[in-house]
Amino acid sequence: MASKRIYKELTECTTSPPPDMKVCLWNESDLHTWKVALAGPASSVYEGGNYAVLVTLPTDYPFKPPTVRILTRIYHPNVTNDNLGNICLSILKPENWKPATKVSAVLQAVRQLLVEPQPDDPLEARIADEYRNDRNEFEKNARQYVTRYARGPPVFGDAPPAAEKSK
């Protein structure tokens, strides 16, 4: 039952992907692990960056929320500033997740988070403070990260990284 839904969603996402994105499976035999290449949205500080995004659908999908990680380092209040790249997104919290929500909606929410960070619900409190109080410094740092980590094609690595939870 789940595979039918996942297959349908995958087809939709690959044929008409959400803006700034390219979607494919990590490997053809596993419907549950998706690779998404996300281009930093124009007019955001992340413009020009290319981000490797990993989407993992749990076995219980769509009744349990997918997990999303930004594998490319990014300077952002709602993404952990480490190799894990965990994201804080309210629609992905188990108590808020609705089974009718589609992966494409999730991906658009991730993109929206880059356009408009949510400093009131931060994963990185220091960056959130900076975002609120010293926007210039924040933008400078964010752009530096883009230059340092996100130029060139997104790097996914050989195998999907093991799921880890930092928070």
Partner: protein, 593 residues
């Protein structure tokens, strides 16, 4: 007259006519009290409950039980406690004064008493200051209260019962606010509570031609589907899976939303029943009951393991510095309504919290420090002497002194390594300063040790009941007394436990009290109670052969009664002083908060 009394007792209470049974309820003796007994600050919002309580009453087990802290120490006392108002009047003059802890209004009229104040003033039946009124509800009562409120809203507002229940939960069972708000802005309120404004139709499962489930993407012909009034339709398998997960795994009940993205419509009981298995529906109802109790500030679960009752008490959080609301569940567990910890009268919750924290942080360390260290006479660093000679050099300030006399080492002259000089001024001064810094620690330990002592005794409570029963049986055999005649031992045992619990907390309380006249009265009360308890304890521990002496029985009964009296006096006095803090009267000054 007794029959009449008995019918009003809750069925789960042992009947008063079987004394051995009654005596077997461990810690407390319970009495019924007028259901609407008031706390002075009982707010008007308690109204709906009152109504429910009186409605339930007619069905028999309303269970408004109030506990008194007394323990019966004789048959007569038992009877006077159980007797109705009429009896009390008969007794007054001779019996009542000799049992001063029979202070409740045993008002067994069916009608709630309209004017409690009158009763309060009627002389012998005094309500003690530390008593709070409360009611115990069993699971069936909790269910009935909800049903009654739902029915009422259903009738007044012409809303179907499922929606009324959702609305009530949304308003945390504040019926008045619900009605008012709904009258003012119906559409907005319905939306916020997760209900649409559309027309009522019974929920049903139906196949829809050409339907594709948005969750599983199945589209087979004849697939049964379901949608709430929001119209978001999914196949019955997905809906069921979703609800099962919410209820079973997430423990959610009152706020399960429609599975559609962004739809806040709340699932109602009828729809849920239609979709899930009966055992899941049971679990759902259990969770709903739980949210009912948790949503209402005046209701709390009894924290005793496996106890399913809830207790209602009107004491507000902000009043917890003035009152210690001890309540007793039907299961026998006595706890504080404010903080859910075991009965901690007379100490207020805040103070109990501080005390427990202090004990957890300090006790072991403090004991060790006290036994093994001294402070440097110059910088007060705590120093452990772990061997070696008496010539100490403080690591921190390099002060050199003698461990024995605490005096300057330089003044020791030739008597090195053999300190026998106690007269030098520097030594005395150093010891004085040391004594001062030690005093606060000593002070704490003084109270802590006594507190811990009584706590230790309380921990033995578990065995005490069995021990007492064994002793009672033995005594019956040895002395030829009847089971009823040996009840005084049980009464003594219960009194001992209760008083020790109180004593324990008097020490925590006293630790925080600054010295003034009130503290002295408090300490006198404490001393009196402690002496009485120790005396009773000693008599109670006597071998059965000695207990056969009927004279000793009378002495023990008197002592039991005396202990109870002392405990009530202490609690009453303290509670009154705490409460007076609110009215600008004298209050305890707290020390070292």
């Amino acid at each position: 007259m007794f029959i009449c009394t008995a019918t009003k007792l809750h069925p789960s209470l042992p009947s008063p006519f079987h004394l051995p049974n009654t005596a077997a309820i461990p810690p407390t003796t319970r009495k019924r009290k007028a259901a609407e007994a008031s706390i002075s600050s009982q707010p008007t919002e308690a109204l709906p409950n009152k109504r429910v309580a009186s409605a339930a009453k007619s069905k028999a087990p309303p269970t408004p039980v109030t506990t008194t802290s007394n323990t019966m120490d004789s048959e007569e006392d038992f009877m006077s406690a159980m007797s109705s108002d009429a009896d009390m009047q008969d007794f007054s003059g001779e019996e009542a004064p000799s049992y001063p802890f029979t202070y409740f209004d045993d008002d067994f009229d069916d009608e709630p008493d309209p004017d409690f104040g009158v009763l309060k003033d009627s002389g012998s039946k005094k309500k003690v200051a530390y008593d709070v009124s409360f009611q115990v509800y069993e699971p069936a009562d909790i269910q009935r209260q909800q049903d009654d409120m739902v029915n009422e809203v259903n009738m007044i507002l012409d809303i179907n019962k499922e929606d009324a229940a959702i609305l009530l939960r949304h308003f945390r069972w504040n019926k008045e606010k619900l009605i008012e708000d709904l009258m003012d802005r119906r559409a907005k309120v319905l939306e916020a509570a997760g209900l649409g404004t559309d027309v009522n139709t019974a929920p049903k499962l139906e196949p829809v031609p050409g339907f594709v489930c948005d969750i599983c993407c199945e589209d087979e012909e004849g697939l049964e589907t379901f949608a709430m009034k929001c119209g978001h339709r999914y196949c019955v398998h997905c809906y069921r899976h979703y609800l099962t997960q919410k209820v079973r795994e997430e423990g959610e009940a009152a706020r399960i939303q429609c599975p559609a993205e962004g739809c806040g419509r709340i699932i109602d009981t009828k729809s849920l029943d239609l979709l899930v298995t009966p055992d899941l529906a049971d679990r759902y109802r259990e969770l709903l009951n739980r949210t009912y109790v948790e949503d209402k500030d005046t209701l709390k679960w009894c924290p005793a393991p496996d106890c399913q009752n809830a207790v209602e008490c009107g004491v507000k959080k902000k009043d917890l510095d003035k009152v210690v609301p001890t309540v007793a569940c039907l299961c026998g567990h006595r706890f504080c309504f404010g903080c859910i910890l075991n009965d901690h009268q007379p100490a207020p919750c805040e103070l109990v919290k501080k005390w427990l924290k202090k004990c957890a942080d300090d006790s072991e360390t403090a004991n060790w420090i006290s036994a093994n260290t001294k402070e440097c006479p110059r910088c007060n660093s705590t120093i452990e002497k772990n061997g070696g000679c008496n010539h100490m050099t403080c690591r921190k300030c390099k002060h050199e002194f003698c461990w024995m006399c605490m005096g300057l080492w330089s003044e020791h002259g030739t008597s090195w390594y053999n300190c026998n000089r106690f007269e030098e001024k520097s030594g005395t001064d150093a010891r004085d300063a040391q004594a001062k810094s030690r005093m606060s620690l000593e002070r704490y330990l003084h109270y802590y040790n006594r507190y811990a002592n009584h706590e230790q005794s309380a921990k033995l409570d578990k065995d005490i009941y069995q021990k007492t029963e064994r002793k009672m049986v033995e005594l019956q055999r040895e002395s030829g007394m009847s089971w009823i005649e040996v009840q005084y031992l049980n009464a003594a045992s219960q009194t001992l436990q209760m008083c020790r619990q109180t004593l324990k907390w008097t020490y925590a309380f006293a630790f925080y009290l600054a010295r003034n006249n009130l503290t002295e009265i408090f300490e006198d009360n404490q001393k009196d109670l402690e002496m009485a308890v120790e005396a009773l304890s000693e008599m109670f521990e006597k071998p059965v052969q000695e207990l056969c002496d009927r004279k000793l029985k009378v002495v023990i009964m008197d002592k039991t009664s005396y202990c109870n009296k002392r405990r009530i006096i202490l609690l009453d006095d303290t509670a009154e002083n705490l409460a007076n803090g609110a009215t600008g009267g004298t209050i305890y000054d707290y020390f070292a908060w």
